[in-house]
């Protein structure tokens, strides 16, 4: 049997494989689906750095195949991913760039400075717009993936420019600008939700278009460039993220009808008060637009000014002269129609409060956070909207043990108060955060206490305080917290009860059917038919058949038509055999049934 059969089998195998492949040259499965990095590089005909760049820009990442054909210490990429890169015009562009760089090098090596400079002026460049559109087909996709982008941009905004690592000044500046633009938008629309100051940095969470976006901004201190970080990789990521954030900002700014590349007051920019300049710009811009909408085309010169764009004087003219009031306007003017509950709440948190930041507190963070919750803020320095001597200041944020001149009209508190107020959503008692005291612990708002089942002490006290505050603020009956929660609770209960009811009903049904069957069997036994046992057996078979019938039917349906065509000959034969057997069985059962009936009739 053996020799002939094996020979047949091999022949069959050969026939099955259309293209014969000699043994040991198997290109199927993981071997065919994955390739190592060096193979990929060879296929793409680029060097490693360009390959890395392409992968990052195209969003192609290494994979872990089930079987690592070339060994465990290799990086694998999917073949289709590499093909995807290969079909991108960017590849050609990067090759071109490389060739161009060679030209420049050559010119320099030949001491032909003129040619080198001339070549440098016309270096080929590429844009990433298409890639962004490709990777994020919808705006929501881009928002969902913004966490890493924002963290990276914020980080690079704080890095020192180092020539050795190719972190140039322009990159740092553009990161700074983009991060400020984002912050200005979030603050303007009151989208910020949570802030957590950790050792690593400050975590922020905003909710934009229903997406929760979390990012990490470094503390205001010198960042170190560690050895174990590959900055060329980081820079490629930043390059991509910069473009992405630019487009996202554009879209967001336009959604609140503000011109996107904002034109900032050069004076404020020079004083490193970018964020404030941005808020002013946005404020002025929205106001102007609303004015225009109201007054139609009464101010053509304004629009012209807008078009020309570069005229700072004019735009400055348009900026509100009284900044203080402008900031106040910012809060009052908004139309509350399209805001959700949270945003409304956030908008009102620091309403009618005026903050003044001392020199030693983290200015950038607080300048972002306080306006985001409806507060008005100023700081010590030039170009600040109001000075320390302003009598209307309600809170001064300080972080040093001794103060010079203390105003009685305001509270001197530590910066943690701001963050805690934001996280708990209420104005906390300031006496715990007074200067010189060790403030209560700064709890993380990112921990769901109820899910964890553990409440830190301070959270408990705040909860109690919160409840008390709510009752104070909303003394009306029926609007209390419990009442507010009630409908939701009811809903949840209703939902729970319904599911339970369904389950119970199902169980009951099952039990009923089984009982019925059992009773029937019993009855038959009691009746004492001569062929009781047989009938029972038949019954059982029937039951089995019935239970299996839907399954078989489904199989038949599934394998109908095309599926049957798709089957191999052998399988088709098997299927037919199965069918025949089934039919036979059915016929037998029918026969038995008929007999039973006849017997019943005769008796």
């Amino acid at each position: 049997m053996t020799k002939k059969d094996t020979a047949k089998k091999t022949v069959a195998k050969l026939k099955k494989n259309k293209h014969y492949r000699p043994a040991g040259k198997k290109r199927e499965g993981n071997a065919a689906r994955y390739m190592t990095r060096s193979q990929a590089i060879k296929q793409l005909q680029v060097n490693l750095s360009v390959f890395r760049k392409l992968c990052i820009l195209k969003g192609v990442f290494p994979r872990e195949p089930k079987k690592k054909v070339k060994g465990n210490n290799q990086t694998y990429y999917h073949v289709k991913d590499i093909a995807f890169i290969q079909h991108d015009p960017l590849l050609e562009k990067l090759r071109e760039q490389r060739a161009y760089q060679k030209k420049i090098h050559k010119a320099l090596a030949k001491k032909n400075e003129d040619l080198a400079t001339r070549l440098r002026t016309r270096e080929p460049s590429y844009t990433l717009d298409r890639l962004i559109r490709e990777r994020y087909p919808k705006f929501v996709d881009a928002l969902r993936d913004l966490d890493d982008c924002l963290s990276m941009v914020h980080l690079f905004a704080a890095l020192p420019a180092v020539e050795r690592l190719k972190i140039n000044v322009e990159r740092v500046h553009s990161c700074r600008r983009l991060s400020h633009e984002w912050q200005a938008y979030v603050a303007r629309c009151h989208k910020l939700r949570k802030v957590f100051v950790s050792v690593k940095g400050i975590y922020y969470q905003a909710e934009v278009e229903g997406q929760k976006i979390t990012w990490l901004a470094p503390h205001a201190m010198q960042q170190v460039l560690p050895d174990d970080v590959n900055f060329s990789v980081m820079l490629t990521f930043v390059e991509f993220y910069e473009t992405l954030l630019g487009f996202v900002n554009f879209r967001l700014y336009h959604s609140i009808s503000v011109k996107y590349p904002p034109i900032l007051d050069p004076r404020l920019e020079a004083l490193a008060a970018d964020l404030y300049a941005l808020t002013r710009y946005m404020n002025g811009n929205t106001k102007r637009i609303s004015e225009e909408q109201e007054s139609g085309s009464t101010k053509p010169e304004h629009t012209r000014g807008q078009l020309e764009g570069a005229q700072f004087e004019e735009s400055e003219h348009q900026l509100p002269s009284n900044e203080d009031r402008a900031l106040m306007h910012l809060i009052e003017e908004d139309d509350d129609n399209d805001d959700d509950e949270d945003t409304k709440k956030c908008k009102k948190l620091f309403k009618n409060m005026k903050f003044y930041l001392s020199r030693e507190v983290p200015r950038e963070s607080l300048l972002f956070v306080i306006p985001a919750f409806g507060g008005v803020v100023s700081w010590e320095g030039d170009a600040a909207p109001f000075t320390e001597a302003d009598q209307s200041i309600t809170h001064q944020i300080v972080d040093r043990p001794s103060q010079g001149h203390m105003y009685l009209s305001r509270e001197y508190i530590q910066p943690q108060w701001i963050y805690d107020c934001i996280n708990f959503g209420v104005i906390l008692e300031a006496h715990r955060y007074l200067v010189g005291r060790v403030p209560p612990p700064h709890l993380s708002p990112f921990v769901d206490n109820e899910a964890e089942g553990y409440f830190p002490d301070y959270a408990e006290t705040i909860k109690r305080f919160e409840a008390a505050a709510k009752n104070e603020v909303l003394p009306m009956p029926g609007v209390g917290k419990d009442d507010l929660d009630d409908p939701q609770l009811l809903l949840a209960e209703g939902y729970l009860s319904r599911t339970e009811a369904i389950e119970v009903a199902e169980r009951k049904k099952e039990r009923a059917t089984s009982e019925k069957q059992y009773l029937e069997d019993l009855k038959q036994e009691v009746q004492g038919h001569p062929d009781a046992t047989a009938s029972i057996a038949v019954e059982g078979a029937q039951v089995e058949e019935e239970s299996s019938r839907p399954h078989l039917e489904q199989v038949a349906e599934d394998t109908d038509g095309t599926a049957l065509m798709m089957m191999s000959r052998r399988n088709r034969g098997l299927f037919k055999a199965m069918k025949i057997a089934k039919d036979k069985k059915k016929a037998k059962v029918e026969k038995l049934k008929q007999r039973k009936k006849q017997i019943a009739e005769s008796t």
Partner: protein
């Protein structure tokens, strides 16, 4: 017409009769011809030469037209037949969609550019997602590489002013991480040493070794062989042969019976076997599930193995208990956020993890150790600039303290004390001194004699340096240096730095005469300076010198001894003190 090269005028060519006049003749001929025909045609305008035929020669025209209208058969075949439908191309759809896209793109570009003109001036940015609902751009389903979020929020214990319990948790975690590293390094396999103690085996010997081994085996084989042959030779009787056959038969039967019994037993225990199989299957299933779950859990913590290196998570950034001040101003924040982001990229599997670069740091420390070690030994007698440098290195050593301790550096303590000494010494010195000693020879203010002295001093320095090296190394082979009379300051330096004490110790502890001699020699050289002698006296040199045993072989010892004691007496230090 280029100039003809001047040739010799002596030949026949130079004769007047042989000068060619062709061109002149030609010109004359042409001009006469022109004069006869009425001017050259080239100079005449076109209008006078040609005219447009405006008369209508219909026959010619028709002929031309007819010729033009005629379609060749080959062309007619290629022409499209309106009744035959074109076969749809397989990639027709793609093409058309592409075309559409192109059109759309153009239109959108046009519109956006218009918008730009109206809205944004000359900014290059447009709204990318303006027509996202249309889905005109070819997009690709992005494979989510990891379940790990891009920004992982630190646990509450990592807050700058954490809650006590949470902080303890985070601290415990950080400590556990550290301890794990320590245990791993302790329990892990020892690295293969780069060098092995002992003499190297020469090539020839190696051959011998191998040969020896081979011989042994061969001998053993030889020993076995004769026995076998003897047994083979032994004759088998018929009785014996039969007996063996019967035995074999019986054994066979027995084994068969056994097999049968086993099989029957197994058949009897079929249900249990089935149960076992079921159990096994279940267990396998369970194991598989467990593995699957474990893998999922692991993927939540770290990326799959994506390359040569394993992912190493960044250490937890948590404040120590004494660092918690509750003030943002005094916060000792993490300044390596770049590492954090980079690790996050690695953790999410966006880039394959890179090698842990800590080794490089170790190497640096290692290098430093050698550098510093050498400097320590040279330290006493190198010139000031170098001394400063050495001090710098040593201070660096103190900075690298942690790394060095890990290396279990032998001379760390020594180096530290020396560094301290050195720093005090450097502080005490005028600043100009450094300059001077750097440009010793080139300094014009120093006269010739001084120069010679200085050169000698330098020499001495080197030699003493070597001596002290020797002392530090534990072997005492020294050379005298009594011929340098100019070195009071330097001698004092040695004394200050503890060299004298070292010498005394050496003298006291020396077991052989040569060492003693060397030490005495050095001491004698030192006592040439009054101050140094005083310092030696204070260090208790006299009793030690007195107690030095005199030797038969080395007369020099006695000489030095007496010389030293005499010197002390001269300086009125009495032996009892």
């Amino acid at each position: 017409m280029g100039k003809k090269p001047k040739s010799s005028r002596k030949g026949k060519k130079a004769w007047r009769a042989n000068i060619s006049t062709d061109d002149i003749d030609e010109f004359i001929e042409k001009s006469t011809k022109d004069a006869l025909t009425g001017g050259s045609l080239a100079e005449v305008p076109n209008e006078s030469l040609f005219f447009v035929d405006k008369s209508k020669d219909l026959s010619v025209k028709r002929k031309i037209e007819k010729h033009r209208e005629k379609v060749l058969h080959c062309d007619s075949v290629l022409q499209r037949n309106p009744f035959v439908k074109a076969i749809p191309s397989s990639n027709d759809k793609k093409k058309s969609s592409m075309k559409n896209k192109k059109n759309k793109k153009d239109s959108t570009e046009a519109s956006t550019s218009k918008d730009d003109a109206t809205k944004d001036g000359e900014s290059g940015i447009v709204d990318l997602w303006e027509n996202e609902a249309e889905g005109d751009i070819r997009t690709r389903k992005v494979v989510k590489t990891s379940v790990i979020p891009a920004v992982e929020v630190d646990p509450p214990g990592c807050s700058y002013n954490p809650n006590f319990e949470a902080h303890q948790d985070s601290l415990a975690k950080a400590v556990a991480e550290e301890m794990q590293k320590v245990y791993q390094s302790e329990l892990g396999p020892q690295p293969v040493p780069l060098t092995v103690q002992g003499d190297a085996i020469e090539e020839e010997e190696m051959y011998f070794l191998e040969v020896d081994n081979g011989d042994d085996e061969a001998n053993e084989e030889n020993e076995d062989a004769p026995e076998k042959s003897s047994s083979m030779k032994k004759m088998v009787t018929k009785v014996e042969f039969n007996r063996r056959a019967r035995l074999k038969d019986r054994q066979k039967k027995e084994s068969e019976a056994k097999k049968k019994a086993e099989i029957s037993k197994e058949i009897d225990s079929l249900p249990t076997i089935i149960d076992e199989i079921a159990k096994e299957d279940e267990e396998k299933q369970k194991r598989m599930m467990r593995r699957l779950v474990a893998k999922q859990e692991r993927l939540k913590q770290q990326p799959p193995r994506l390359g040569r290196h394993k992912f190493v998570p960044a250490p937890t950034q948590v404040l120590l208990s004494e660092e918690i001040t509750g003030s943002l101003r005094k916060l000792k924040a993490c300044c390596t956020l770049a590492t954090d982001r980079f690790k996050s990229l690695e953790k999410r599997g966006l880039i394959p993890p890179s090698a842990n670069k800590r080794r490089r740091k170790y190497n640096f420390a290692y290098e430093l150790r050698f550098l510093a070690g050498d400097k320590v030994l040279d330290l006493y007698f190198i010139d000031d600039g170098e001394a400063e440098e050495a001090a710098g290195v040593l201070i660096d050593v103190r900075v690298e303290d942690e790394a060095l301790r890990k290396l279990r550096l032998k001379h760390l303590e020594e180096m530290r004390t020396l560094a301290a000494h050195l720093r005090t010494y450097l502080r005490g010195r005028p600043a100009g001194n450094v300059q001077r000693s750097r440009n010793f020879c080139s300094s014009p203010s120093v006269n010739r004699a001084d120069e010679a002295a200085a050169a000698m001093e330098e020499e001495a320095e080197r030699k003493i340096g070597w001596l002290l090296k020797v002392i530090f190394a534990g072997t005492a082979t020294a050379i005298g240096y009594q011929f340098f009379p100019y070195m009071d300051g330097r001698r004092m330096k040695i004394v200050e730095l503890g060299g004298a004490q070292e010498l005394l110790n050496m003298l006291e502890a020396a077991k052989d005469d040569r060492t003693r001699k060397a030490a005495l020699e050095a001491l004698a050289a030192l006592t040439k300076s009054d101050k140094a002698a005083g310092a030696l006296h204070k260090a208790g040199a006299i009793p030690i010198v007195q107690s030095t045993p005199s030797s038969v072989e080395e007369e020099a010892i006695d000489k030095y001894k007496t010389g030293l004691l005499k010197r002390f007496q001269d300086l009125k230090y009495d032996g009892s003190s």
